[in-house]
Every structure is written in structure tokens, then in C-alpha cells.
Subunit: 205 residues, 2 copies
DNA sequence: GACTTTTCTGGACAAACGTCAAGATTTTCG
DNA sequence: CGAAAATCTTGACGTTTGTCCAGAAAAGTC
């Protein structure tokens, strides 16, 4: 247990518990959204009691922001593998497009929660700092894809990072909504759209 | 008053009242958003009592959907003037970009409400029909701009209507959030981004 | 002017909400 | 072991919510 003393400080344990609670909360939040997910419902769908939420989080906003931050922290590296593995521009685009589609299929609840939170931040000022910060990390994530794509293609990006992110986010959001509405063929459409859009993001050779 | 008998059927009066109530409600909804705007708050910020809401609308959802539908019905023709007046492609782009900026400045509360509602529809199935329908009219609105732009430029659109709408909506949404956050220079950036993007929507000459 | 119908008011209701706190339980550590 | 600290449970609180309703007021009709 010599190493154990170092790996288990009280603060670590506290953080670990917060993470577990947030993980649990994310499932309910992804199902009901920000406004409809009550702290009691969140607690019920977890192994915790509703009082413990206030032991680990100051209030509801604190919990939700922590949850989305935690999710996005891992989500933000979703495309790193594709970027690292791709050896040609076309390969990168294909991998990226496939991964986007995979994201919509596997993580639709989490992403609608993100869009919910971002929309709420347009009303609730106390959400803005966290939302802007997360948005920036997403922009960086997209930019890693686009700039690598530009390098592999031997061309220069034609647009600022925020523009590239805005365009792709628009398409993604549209596809997510259509997917949740059960529209057939959305995923293939998104894939095709990304293949269509990516070359446009680069300056002419 | 011979024509008056025809212009004032009881059903018309009922609809007129609904419209007035919705107009009033829109102000509060644009300020607080879908979840935080209670029927009492909506009624308080109007000339009506909170009971009358249930006389004219079945429930809260009914009211909100009616409100957003009503707003978008006029909003959807915002760019028609630009389209009709433009004589060159560049003129159209400039007018369109200016109008987008003007929209963000003048109608930010209404548009954040729309994004709020669209995000909620990802959770609440009963909202989806109305949201998809409105979304389609917005897509048509954008397509009127893009296709006219293509004609004036003597080139063909390079992308499907939904793609053009998705891209522009992504940029617009990003700019709206930044504007609400008080970021300086967003409006000029949006204008520049639109000037940058529009030519890309057309096939090479 | 008396009637019916429509429109509106304001209070009452149960349910659900976020928050809190007192006490039980567990863990930690000398 | 036993005291101290951390963790958790449970129930209660004061609001606020959407909805409903009995009756007042107004409009329409003969």
C-alpha cells in the first residue's frame, strides 16, 4: 500500500464521486434535456439519493455544467485517431465523415443535450462562460481535422477555424435533428455532404 | 358598413384575439425562453389575465407552437425584398449579408427562441412536426436567395437546398450567440463570412 | 330590455420543483 | 477501540408550475 497512500487522497475520492454522479446524471439529462430533468429524476435513475447531489454540487446549474464539461472533455478527442491515422487527404475525409455519422448514431442524446445547453446559454448568462469555453474546444477539434486535411492535400485552408466549425456544426445539427425524427437516409446524406464540403474549405491548388 | 358584416365573423374575431395574445407572448418568450416563461409571466407582461390563455389555447405547447409559427410566417419573407431588388450577383450578396446582420441586431430574442424550440424538439416529440415544417420554410427562404444568386451569376448552385441552409444557419447561429455574449466585431465578421461563403455555393463557371 | 352565448377573471388545486438541514451511517485515523 | 470527520438518507420547507373552474362581465340576439 505504499503507492496507495498517494493515489487516494480525500480530494481525489471526492472528485471521483463527482465524476460518477455526473456520469449517471448525463444519462438522464441526455434523455430529458436541461429543463425537464429534475434533480430528483436524475437521482432516481442513479445509485444515489437526491440529497447527495447537493453534497457534491452547489446547485443544478453547477451539476449540469460539470456534466457537459466532463462529457465534452472526452468527446473532443473523438477525431484524433482519424487525424493521426490518415495518410492521404481522401482517407482523412472518409474517416472523418464516417466518424461523424457514427457519433450521431451512438451519441445522439449527448449531443442534443449540448445543443440544448448552448441554446439555454442565449438566455441564461451564467451558462455562457462554460458554453463559450466548450465551443472553443470543439472549434479546435474541428480545426485539427481541417488543418491536417489541408496539409495532406498540399493546399491551404481557405477559411478561419470558426467558419469551418460553424459550417460543419450547421450540417451536423441538421442531421442530428433529422436522425432523431427518424428520417431515413440522413446518415448517408451527411456523409456525402461532408465529402462535398471539405474540398471547399481549402484554397484552390 | 356594408363590407363590415363580411369582415367580422365571430371566427375571425377569435383568431384575431389569438394573434394578439401570441404577439404579447412572443415578447416574454423571447426574453425568457421556452422553459422559463410561465403562462403567468406571459399573461402578466400582457393585457390579458392568466386564465384567458387557456381559453384561446389548449395548453402551453399549443401556445408556444402557435407563437413561433406566427413569427416565422412573417420572418420567412425577410429577404424577399433583397432578392427582388438585386440586379447583380454582388448586389444580392451584399444585401443578403446586410440583412442577416440587421436580423441579428433587431431580432435576437426571437431567433434565440427559435433555436430553443428546435433544440427542445430533439427531446419532445410533439414539437417535431411544427419544427420540421418551419425549418422547411426557412430552407425555402434561403434557397430563394441562393438560386436567384446563381441566376444572376450565370452559374448553377453547387449544393442542395438543405445543405446551403445548413451551412448558413450554422454561421448565423454562431454569430447570434457571440452577439448575445457581447463580443465585438461579430457582425462585421458575419458579413465577411457570408461574402466568403456565397460564391462557394455555386459551381465553377 | 330580457335571453343566451361568448369572453374573461381570479382563486383554488395538486403536483413538481430546488433547496436545505437534522440525524443516521460510514469512513478515517490517532 | 473510540473520537472525529466525511458521507449519505430522508423528510420537510416554501415556491412555482400548468390546469381547471365557478362565477362575473360583456357581446350578441330576439
Amino acid at each position: 500500500m505504499t503507492t496507495a497512500t498517494a493515489r487516494r487522497t480525500p480530494a481525489d475520492k471526492h472528485d471521483e464521486r463527482r465524476r460518477a454522479l455526473a456520469d449517471s446524471a448525463l444519462r438522464t439529462l441526455g434523455e430529458l434535456g436541461y429543463a425537464r430533468a429534475s434533480l430528483r429524476e436524475i437521482a432516481n435513475n442513479s445509485e444515489f439519493s437526491h440529497g447527495v447531489v447537493h453534497y457534491y454540487f452547489h446547485d443544478k446549474l453547477d451539476l449540469i455544467v460539470y456534466c457537459v464539461r466532463q462529457y465534452k472533455a472526452t468527446c473532443v478527442h473523438r477525431y484524433d485517431g482519424v487525424v493521426a491515422d490518415a495518410t492521404t487527404a481522401d482517407e482523412l475525409v472518409a474517416g472523418f465523415a464516417d466518424k461523424l455519422v457514427e457519433t450521431i448514431v451512438d451519441e445522439a442524446p449527448m449531443h442534443r443535450l449540448w445543443y440544448d445547453l448552448r441554446a439555454q446559454s442565449m438566455f441564461e448568462e451564467s451558462l455562457r462562460e462554460a458554453v463559450l469555453q466548450i465551443d472553443k474546444t470543439l472549434e479546435d477539434m474541428i480545426w485539427r481535422v481541417v488543418s491536417t486535411y489541408a496539409e495532406l492535400a498540399g493546399r491551404a485552408p481557405a477559411m478561419a477555424p470558426s467558419v469551418a466549425y460553424g459550417l460543419l456544426d450547421g450540417l451536423f445539427q441538421q442531421a442530428l435533428l433529422a436522425h432523431l425524427c427518424g428520417r431515413e437516409g440522413v446518415l448517408d446524406e451527411l456523409r456525402a455532404q461532408v465529402h462535398e464540403l471539405m474540398p471547399v474549405l481549402l484554397a484552390p491548388a
